[in-house]
């Protein structure tokens, strides 16, 4: 039977929580075959990515299903420089539910690649996250930057008690 290599398969994009994959586990000196899911093996979180080419403003939304709480756990951005950096500041913002509080990431449009976490803009306001049914919105101001960015957000969905 003709074997199929992994790279021959269709691209599944970002992993999904219920995707299954094989593992082998050494038990008492014997390698046994198992399958497991991302939720069981990596934890009950979701990861999404957004690309921004810097040519215009970016607005991306992570939709919170009705009746759920969407809790952002971590977000970061990687900036890959283009050929003509402007020395300008790229300030990305994450809002949830239009709350005035937010998380930000700041990168400079330089010839150096950079990576940054999103961190709290202010810790003096009320809790900015964990509002029922509220989406997360990631945005940047207008473009004009020489380079590209990839934003990665890891979040969880939970049922309110």
């Amino acid at each position: 039977m003709q074997s199929v290599r992994i790279e021959d398969l269709p691209d599944g994009g970002m992993y999904e929580p219920d995707d299954r994959f094989p593992i082998q586990r050494n038990e008492s000196g014997v390698w046994n075959d198992y399958q497991t899911s991302f939720t069981r093996y990596y934890g009950d979180v979701i990861r999404v990515k957004f690309n921004w080419d810097g040519s215009g403003a970016m607005i991306e939304t992570i939709t919170c299903p009705v009746g759920k709480l969407l809790v952002m756990l971590m977000a970061d951005v990687v900036f890959t420089p283009g050929p003509a950096p402007t020395s300008g500041l790229i300030q990305m913002t994450i809002l949830q539910g239009g709350n005035s509080n937010s998380a930000i990431a700041e990168l400079y449009d330089t010839a150096l690649g950079q990576g940054s976490l999103f961190y709290l803009n202010s810790e003096t306001s009320a809790d900015p996250w964990r509002d029922l049914d509220q989406d997360i919105q990631i945005s940047t101001p207008g473009g004009g930057f020489s380079g590209s960015s990839v934003v990665s957000v890891i979040y969880a969905l939970i049922d309110p008690i």
């Binding site: 074997s3 199929v4 992994i6 790279e7 021959d8 398969l9 269709p10 691209d11 599944g12 994009g13 970002m14 992993y15 999904e16 219920d18 995707d19 299954r20 994959f21 094989p22 593992i23 082998q24 050494n26 390698w31 075959d33 399958q35 991302f38 990596y42 934890g43 979180v45 990861r47 990515k49 690309n51 971590m74 970061d76 990687v78 900036f79 890959t80 300030q91 930000i104 990431a105 700041e106 990168l107 400079y108 150096l112 690649g113 950079q114 990576g115 940054s116 976490l117 961190y119 709290l120 803009n121 202010s122 810790e123 590209s148 990839v150 990665s152 890891i154």
Partner: protein, 169 residues
């Protein structure tokens, strides 16, 4: 050619965005790239002797090795633990961790305190615009004390930094 089981394959310690993983979704086979998998969080532990702590403003100490070519370190958090010693550090007790080539009083990623040797401290991203600085691609991370060197104190520091690597596009 006979198939190999996973346990017979050559082990690799590296992870790249272009690695391919096999998954089954709703009964259909797919490949998923390493870039689309959950991030791997790494940790590096560094001991900074007390003598080096007393010069940690002028001479930062490397706490995470340089990122591989084409990648950048994203520091998440760090922990400061104190080993031995009888006296707390005095003056200039804010420890910052950031990219080695640019770290300064104003350019850093996570910060914590070394003021109380009896209490392990957590370093985290400060809040407020301009408080957090991006990491530089292919650079290492170093620990540095802000403003000036501590004046007294005799504990060794054990710094654990949790981070992950992202590839440039």
């Amino acid at each position: 050619m006979p198939n190999k089981s996973t346990s017979q394959m050559t082990a690799t310690a590296l992870r790249t965005d272009d690695d391919r993983h096999y998954v089954v979704r709703s009964g259909v086979d797919y490949q998923i790239t390493g870039a689309n998998m959950p991030p791997a969080v790494y940790a590096q532990v560094t001991l900074i002797p007390a003598a080096s702590v007393l010069t940690l403003n002028a001479t930062p100490v490397l706490v995470v090795d340089p990122a591989p070519v084409g990648t950048v370190i994203i520091p998440l958090r760090a922990a400061i633990q104190f080993d031995n010693g009888t006296a707390d550090y005095a003056a200039n007790t804010t420890l910052a961790i950031g990219s080695t080539s640019v770290i300064s009083d104003t350019v850093k990623s996570v910060t914590g305190s070394i003021a109380d040797r009896l209490v392990p401290n957590e370093c985290f991203a400060p809040s407020g615009i301009g408080a957090f600085s991006p990491s530089i691609a292919e650079d290492s991370l170093s620990a540095r004390v802000e403003t000036g060197n501590p004046t007294t104190g005799d504990s060794d520091l054990v710094i654990t930094v949790w981070y992950y690597l992202r590839e440039l596009s």
